[in-house]
Amino acid sequence: MSSGAQTKSGLYLFYLDFVKPVLRSGRGLFGLIMIAIMILMATVGPSLIPLDTKLKPSMRWCLPSLEHPLGCDYMGRDLLSMVVHGSREVFLIPFIATIIGIIGGMSVGLFAGYVGGVARRALTAVTDVWLTIPSFPVIFILAYVLPKSPLTIAVLLALFSWPGLARALAAEVSSLKTRDFVEACINLGLSKLYILFREIGPHLLPFVTYNFATLFVANMSSLIGIVLLGVAPLNPTNWGYLLNQMIFTYKGLLIPNGSVIVFLMISILVVIKLGVVFFAQALEEVFNPRLRTYE
């Protein structure tokens, strides 16, 4: 065992430190499986499961069966194929939005936290204002009127992703800044950028990772929400659009079978969201063992 650990130490330590604890916690495993399913769905899914475009009036709102694992939609099309084909847009746009938001939030937060003083107060004021704007209608209205492209929508979502993170990071950096190891680095004459990214940065990694996951799912909910409300999607299999058609156009909630299908559809969304959140929590526990209380 010990010799094995020495020969492939890097990978093995990574396994011991990160993979094993995540797999051992039930939530972590569930999250990992969900994320794997999401990636498969958005990458190889559409080529494995062909999009069902045939309208079959007799199969309208059919309940789940072996042939149609998720049942059928308002036109008798196989819902599973629609969900798989819609997943690309539903996962990719929030993903891009989250990356933009995280980069923005980190740059502002690290800068404000490290410089401190006026910069931090300015950040607090800006985020105070920013967080009080009803963000959902803003995204909704602008996504409706601006020229439609994945990037536009991603940027709109990102606009409201950064403030919370920036604020929390600024607070964290300004408290880390006064620690002994940072004092030592300053006395060693290391550059500010080096200290910020090599010494302080790693301490923030768990927090940023956790925020990445929560922001991603929040952005996914918003994207589906605006499309559900009637903003035209880029792709007719966008889950929000499917829900919009099911609920508002075909009045699925008033049809017994229809409400089952709508129920299933939202459950998928909720389970995926939970998977990502649980995975993030498991990771957070790995990074920060003090949180592990239920062992």
């Binding site: 204002v129 009803p134 409300l229 129920f263």
Partner: protein
């Protein structure tokens, strides 16, 4: 303690007014962009019908449409347009709804009340329930029941509001038929101050309110739980116990107050999110509040209504935040001192 320390409103109010102005600038920029990027066909239809009605050239009708319906003087430079537009909004010129053929203020006057009514009850209830549930979990921290409770809170807080609205709709209204999911009151009930109307209104508001409560209470509960767990470790609590202070007093004053107070500023920050989120929930339940009209405005391309409703949503948020800010010093002596010293 002098009078200024008791009523430290001036300072907070000043700061909030500056914030409010900036927020209004941002909100009006959004609506300005929305109106300026209005698709040509909407504008064309309006201007064409106006030109025919008044027997004037099309270009002139277009100008009138912009200035009357949206408060924008199209022939001026764009920054002047923007400036005058914001001034107009501040003077209460919310624009003209082409669908209702009335000023937007008319629609706002009918819709605002419903939103404020359901949201304020929903927010208060969810806060109280969240605090109570979080305190129970916090006091039993580390136990099996705490684990079950906090897991449930985590699961619920991960569900988006519209999903909860749809779940409740399907279960309580479509399946069991317990609650109505359309409108604010039954058409056969005479609006007025009578018991039947009030009962009917509450009956219709039940689903939206329940949705707000379910969506938000778990977030508060999780925050309170971690606050309580932290405070229970504090030395002042052990000292209070050693002094023989009653358990009841420890729970309410020592733990309760200290764990709830940090949440008040968060409440202020969440008002905007809740007012914005009401758009989806009111649309799902066809509840005639501001959010409902906002989504209607989009679906019928009524840009005047869109800008007016959105602007009023922002104003409502600002007022909500100011109210929370004004109340905080009364509840939290530390804020009172901070403001008085600063």
């Amino acid at each position: 303690m002098d009078l200024k320390a008791l009523f430290p409103f001036g300072k907070i109010l000043g700061k909030r007014l500056v914030y409010a102005l900036i927020t209004i600038m941002i909100a009006s920029t959004v609506t300005f962009i929305a109106i300026r990027s209005m698709p040509g066909d909407v504008l064309y239809t309006l201007a064409a019908s106006l030109a025919e009605e008044l027997r004037i050239p099309f270009e002139e009708a277009r100008k009138i449409v912009y200035s009357i319906y949206y408060g924008i003087e199209i022939e001026k430079p764009i920054y002047v347009q923007y400036f005058e537009y914001v001034l107009g909004l501040l003077r209460g010129n919310l624009g003209y709804s082409t669908y209702f053929k009335r000023p937007v203020t008319y629609v706002v006057a009918r819709a605002l009340g419903w939103t404020v009514f359901t949201l304020s009850i929903g927010v208060s209830l969810s806060f109280v329930i969240g605090v109570l549930a979080g305190m129970v979990a916090g006091f039993k921290r580390g136990s099996k029941s705490d684990f079950i409770m906090s897991s449930t809170f985590t699961v619920i807080s991960a569900i988006p509001g519209y999903a909860i609205a749809l779940f409740l709709y399907i279960i309580l209204s479509a399946r069991l038929g317990l609650l109505p999911a359309r409108g604010a009151y039954s058409p056969d009930v005479e609006p007025g101050f009578n018991l039947r109307f009030i009962a009917d209104v509450l009956y219709h508001a039940a689903l939206p309110i329940l949705t707000y409560v379910v969506t938000t209470f778990s977030g508060w509960a999780l925050l309170i739980r971690s606050n309580v767990a932290k405070i229970l470790e504090e030395d002042f609590l052990k000292y209070a116990e050693a002094r023989g202070i009653s358990r009841r007093r420890i729970i309410t004053t020592y733990v309760g107050r200290n764990s709830i107070l940090p949440l008040i500023p968060l409440l202020a920050l969440r008002i905007g999110g809740m007012i914005g989120g009401s758009t989806l929930i009111e649309t799902i339940f066809a509840y005639p509040g501001m959010g409902y009209y906002l989504s209607i405005a989009l679906s019928i391309r009524d840009y005047g209504l869109l800008q007016g409703i959105f602007f009023m949503m922002t104003v409502a948020t600002i007022i909500g935040v100011i109210i929370v800010d004004m109340v905080t010093p009364f509840i939290d002596p530390r804020v009172r001192r901070e403001v008085a010293v600063a």
